[in-house]
Symmetry: C2
Subunit: 206 residues, 2 copies
């Protein structure tokens, strides 16, 4: 756990609440936490789902390993410690978005079980929906795709601490949604996610 | 400047853009960056402005020294280095909100000129509006108010590095909006801010 360093702080309760914003937006916020190997298709599924949601008038935002690392987490690398802090900060940013009322699509490898649990518990603490989505793609398939050429570099020793090669991926044991990429098409994956969002009342049923 | 540690990252260009979200929300995002001494009234003005904006149907979110320090920045204290990292992260979070289309009301003491410039330049780089609002309250007045009893503790040496007492406040030289609390009422301050948001096309003119 990260220690609370600053004292003399307390949550500032403003006159405008989450409920005001939910009413304005006509939706509630939630975090969909995509986890899986590099090349498993996390961002592809998140993008496809986002396009569907925005077409239906829902405000969404994608938090992505690549774009977050250029901003809020630009001072973090890929050591185990930095990966943990990376995921911790993303979890907290996601919570701020949920507080605004946004449906957050967070797509990070997030290989360590403990880190995902920290993000989940941070949401639970403030009664914010957290839906873990395991994009389950076999390593040999992800490595065959290798869309960014990273597995090749990792095998050649040019990248260290690469998940699946010389750093572990701890698969979720109790993900809310488990998508096997060798069984489902992209369209089917998006359909499963939409159904689940409706089932949980995050989207209105048709 | 913070060094970019992670390599092999690039901004993921999704199919849903800022423009899609702006259209959905009927507004554009912007950051109002309130700066001033502890007790100057930053949060009070931000709350009052937020209530006005939400009543007019605008999606806003307040980033606050107190609530951010309980989450994303809980591993930061009040040393000069930690204050700088605190403000850097807030600037980056604000940018993500602007990307969503939210009017961000960021209210932090943010005492160092260089730190505010880093936040401003991060916005400029991606053509995101950044409006610095200097809540200009004389130190003796802020200390007289002392709503959280912090000045008293700082004078007694129980809090170190307290802005205005044993840590400097570097007043803005070119803030877009300069509000003198000894000349304006809260209602007048909010009116000035609303006028400026209209003048800049962030809100529609009446």
């Amino acid at each position: 756990m990260v220690e609370q360093k600053a004292t003399n702080v307390h949550w500032h309760e403003g006159s405008v609440t989450r409920e005001h914003r939910n009413k304005l937006l006509g939706q509630k916020g939630a975090t969909l936490w995509f986890t899986g190997l590099s090349g498993s298709g996390k961002s592809t599924v998140a993008c496809a789902l986002e396009a569907e949601l925005i077409a239906r008038g829902h405000l969404t935002y994608r938090l992505d390993g690549d774009n977050v690392r250029l901003g809020i987490n630009k001072n973090l690398g890929f050591s185990a410690e930095d990966r943990t802090e990376n995921i911790r900060r993303v979890g907290e940013v996601a919570k701020l978005f949920v507080d605004v009322g946004v449906i957050v699509l967070s797509s990070f490898i997030s290989p360590y079980r403990i880190d995902r649990r920290v993000a989940r518990e941070a949401h639970d603490k403030d009664q914010m929906p957290f839906i873990e989505v395991f994009i389950d793609c076999p390593l040999d398939e992800a490595e065959k795709r290798d869309p960014k050429g990273l597995y090749k570099k990792a095998r050649a020793g040019q990248i260290k601490n690469f998940t699946g090669i010389d750093d572990p991926y701890e698969a979720p044991e109790h993900a809310e949604i488990h998508l096997r990429t060798d069984e489902l098409s992209l369209e089917q994956e998006v359909a499963v996610l939409l159904d689940e969002l409706k089932r949980r009342g995050i989207l209105d049923a048709d």
